[in-house]
């Protein structure tokens, strides 16, 4: 009897569980329907007020998110369209962008894209060339106001051969871009380029000026050539005073490759490191000379703080900010900690070399592109926002939040603005001048791994693991393998 009762209860429990599960499934299906309905009406807010919403995926400090945030209320006021901004730090952003686009998600209408990612994304982002050809847009957008180097490097891609660079013009020329078989994949929103922040207070100090003149027979000024750079760095290297000449970034990571390409370009080599035929171009005498100089700064002349072989952007910034070096190289404005009494920062261009009577420089630059998700249902609205937020007027407003502008006219305004000059000295002039001669990146898939292979070779050199020639050969071999793994055939057109 008891056993029968137990069996009955057990079956009853099973029946109840089954019914519960089935009803849960039914509810879930209903939930799914609602969700579909939601996505069909995406682009308006959930309160039924009819306010149009655009979703923007943006980075954090790398492209000055505060600048974008500061103008979003203006856009809502002007158009009634609210832009919902989601920001993520670099690595997370890359993974999120790739994941969203691989899943063909329509959630984000707009995404900020770093140039090395573009090789994988040209079939997932919307070319805006047609929008730009619209006579009404063409009359107002002022494409020729964009810095040509920034525009071509950031937004102009060949849809079927995304590794190719278009031939650059002195001014942005839409018809020329089209005739070369290229498309425009957004508009540049933030332009980062290596500049050389230095301690103006140390350079201006009378004792330093006199001592330098006695020692080198010339005035102490921010160095223009790498030879001058070495002298200035040696002059300021005083380990007993916890002061060194400069920072460098040969740690393992893309920053090492950024350093390397800047030096290679200044020695007359190919600053891209990989050409449009997808062949590594840095196993050359110019690179060997550049690397010899670079390695000597660290190991022979020791004008960098100890521990430099592990430095990335962060450590380099901390060392300069703590007053440990007289010079550094960075994308952004720098600040000094409160213990650096009387410290003043000014900015100069990263030095170069005189080759054939001409100063050759090639500071690394990396720019950010504001692009439209191909899978979004709000292409026109998204384009209108891109055009508005990258306009001269809006970029001028964002200067107050330290946007690195992409338009020539905004640099002119920045240099004429006494408040900005007081805050940042020559930063905007230096930034604008550096962008005009900057060198971008090769356009390959798995760029991160390729960059690390290059940086690992550099790190091996400065930590004494093998000669420059050995490391260049090994790094080149590794890069070719990585290119082949990505499906390229080095040497292809």
């Amino acid at each position: 009897m008891k056993k029968n009762l137990f069996t009955s209860i057990t079956w009853l429990v099973i029946a109840v569980l089954t019914i519960t599960l089935l009803s849960a499934c039914t509810s879930r299906n209903e939930g799914s329907s609602n969700s579909s309905a939601d996505s069909a009406s995406s682009g308006t807010d959930g309160e039924g007020s009819g306010t149009k919403v655009l979703n923007l995926l943006y980075t954090t400090n790398e492209a000055n998110v505060e600048a974008i945030k500061s103008v979003l209320p203006d856009y809502e006021q002007k158009t009634g369209i609210r832009v919902e901004l989601t920001s993520a730090p670099y690595t997370n952003l890359q993974q999120k962008v790739f994941q969203e686009l691989a899943n063909k998600s329509a959630h984000y209408d707009l995404m900020v894209i770093d140039t090395p990612w573009m090789a994988d994304l040209t079939d997932k982002l919307l070319p805006i060339t047609e929008f730009l050809e619209d006579p009404e847009v063409a009359a107002t957008i002022e494409l020729e106001d964009f810095i040509p180097k920034v525009f071509y490097d950031t937004t102009v891609y060949n849809p079927s051969k995304p590794w190719l660079h278009a031939s650059e013009m002195d001014k942005v020329d839409l018809q020329d871009i089209k005739s070369q078989g290229f498309e425009i994949y957004g508009l540049p929103i933030q332009s980062n380029v290596l500049t050389m922040p230095y301690r103006k207070d140390l350079f201006d100090k009378p004792e330093n000026r006199q001592a330098f003149k006695e020692q080198y027979g010339r005035e102490l000024e921010p160095p223009v050539t790498w030879d001058e750079f070495l002298e200035v760095a040696q002059f300021f290297t005083r380990p007993n005073e916890q002061l060194w000449g400069t920072t460098l970034m040969p740690g393992v990571g893309d920053w090492g490759a950024d350093d390397l390409k800047t030096f290679v370009a200044a020695w007359g080599g190919d600053g891209l490191l990989i050409n449009d035929k997808l062949e590594p171009t840095y196993d050359t005498p110019e690179t060997i000379e550049a690397l010899t100089y670079y390695n000597d700064l660290i190991n022979k002349h020791q004008v960098v703080p100890p521990g430099t072989s592990t430095f990335s952007w962060t450590e380099a910034g901390t060392a300069f900010g703590s007053g440990l070096t007289a010079m550094t190289m960075n994308y952004f404005t720098q600040t000094l900690t409160s213990n650096v009494e009387g410290g003043i920062i000014d900015y100069a261009m990263v030095p170069g070399n005189i080759i054939d009577g001409r100063l050759v420089q090639g500071p690394h630059f990396g720019t950010w592109n504001l692009s439209i998700n191909k899978f979004s249902g709000n292409h026109k609205e998204a384009f209108d926002f891109v055009a508005w937020v990258t306009s001269s007027e809006v970029q001028q407003k964002m200067l107050q939040k330290q946007l690195h502008p992409t338009r020539i006219s905004v640099y002119e305004v920045a240099q004429a603005d006494p408040a900005l000059t007081e805050r940042f000295n020559n930063f905007y002039k230096t930034l604008g001048d550096s962008l005009a001669i900057g060198v971008g990146r090769p356009r390959t898939s798995n760029a991160e791994e390729i960059w690390r292979a290059v940086a690992t070779g550099l790190n091996n050199i400065v930590t004494g693991k093998g000669t420059i020639e050995e490391n260049l050969a090994s790094s080149k071999k590794q890069v070719i393998t990585l290119l082949e793994q990505a499906g390229y055939k080095p040497g292809q057109q």
Binding site: L101, G307, N446
Partner: protein, 309 residues
Amino acid sequence: MATLSTRTHDAPIARKKKSKMNAPAIILLAPAVLLLLSVTLYPFLYLLYTSFFSQNLMNPSAKAWIGFGNYAALFKDADVIRGFTNTLVFAFGAVGIQMILGTLIALILDKDLPGMKAITIMMLIPMSITPIVGALTWKYLLTPPFGWVGYYLQKLGIIDQPIVFLGSGFSAMMSMIALDVWNWTPFVALILLAGLKSRPHDQLEAASIDGARRYQVFIYITLPFLKRFILIAVVLRLIEAFKNFTGVFGLTNGGPGNSTLLASLVVYRKALESFQIGYAAAIAFIFLILLSIITTPLIGRLQKEITND
């Protein structure tokens, strides 16, 4: 004969009864078993399945069956080989030190001395710190010229020149092991302390009455008793040390060069930076096999210890 006849007769009834009794139990257990299989067996099989394809997450349509192609490639990949070798050095080095230090700390904390409770609580602090925060803090502490470690070693006159701890392969690996030891020795000590607290006091008293020395008590009573706790700690720590990612990512990022590259970092780079999901799956699968080969005998030994008890 009658007995035999009865048995022959009863057998089908018993089987029937058994199956009748088991049916509801099986049905009730099924959801839990299915859930368990879906979160263990399915990912394992999917990992294996994926490892036979050339697959890039950014171009899912180009997925192609390549059989053992990924496996053939990974055994020729210098980064993968280095990653596995370093992982073995790191895991055995870190866990070995943790076991020795953990045992010593547990023995000290087991003493009935004033302040031991407070010390035990303080000792747990490294465990409660988020691993990435710990790794980045260590990076700053070890990096000259602003790192405190080098600064105070110089101030105390122990060294003349700042040591670049993360600047050579050997010292960077030692730093990674030191970080893991700092982070996880308290965990080992805690497990062993629990073991020490549950020691049978009658044996200790008997040894004391018989005049056993301290080291004899430790070797003949404490250590055999702690064996199963030590095994638990070793198994748990080895598994975690093999999977270590945050430490290497935050402290050395595999550098200098590739000298502290761990297998987990290789998998991360292939899967989440290059999106070569098939290749990453093959590395992860080999990694899983390696971990199983190392931990299975330990788990078997642990089960034997428990059964013998």
